[in-house]
Homo-oligomer: 140 residues x 2
Amino acid sequence: MQQHVSVITLGIDDLPRSRRFYAEGFGWTPVFDNDEIVFYQMNGFILGTWLQHALEGDMQRSGLVRPGAFALAHNVGTKKEVQPLIDRLAAAGGDVLRPGDAPVHGGFRGYVADPDGHAWEIAWNPSFAMDEHGHITFGL
Amino acid sequence: MQQHVSVITLGIDDLPRSRRFYAEGFGWTPVFDNDEIVFYQMNGFILGTWLQHALEGDMQRSGLVRPGAFALAHNVGTKKEVQPLIDRLAAAGGDVLRPGDAPVHGGFRGYVADPDGHAWEIAWNPSFAMDEHGHITFGL
């Protein structure tokens, strides 16, 4: 069985507020949008931000809660890129959960919540090789 | 700014229970594990399943809740693969949220929650092109 994820969908409350975080904070451009969802083409999969009631309807599961027990990480190429990106995400409507610092396993990272509370780790991790397309290969 | 996610980390309560779902249900092999985390190499990024208290500690944010407002999708190549995979995930400790059926936008999909409540959509989506590495490119 192939080890792959095709789509990550985040439940959100307000499309323009969320879109500002991803567009102005990360600098990402949607590949599609309508009045309930925005899709971003990522490294081999799609990130979707979808109105939470629509996601709940599709999943046939109501009562999704936030902050959920998960985190998404966006790795950068150098240590010095971590904190400026955290600052830019905060200026675009994010909440800083943890400013950049060095974890015991090496590298440098911090956490920011998007306007809907979804956590993003911004990390420089020299032990995870990243190619020119942003693809990560595990290494320790 | 590159549009990429490097790691998806799911907060879990019980490592063997979670690992059984991913190993026996999806058929995935860890690339690393210790007594608090399991990593799986995915299509260009890493999936981590980490004891929730450790994730909360790293994030400096307590009180993460489940089921979170998000879903991960795993696409398969044909419609007829959807329901058998849902059944296999259920047999490996998952809870079926929605059996496979056809959404209005086409294709075929269902949802299963992993043993920690994290939702996986199992989908056949002929409008999202998938290459031999499982990489998805957006299309409608």
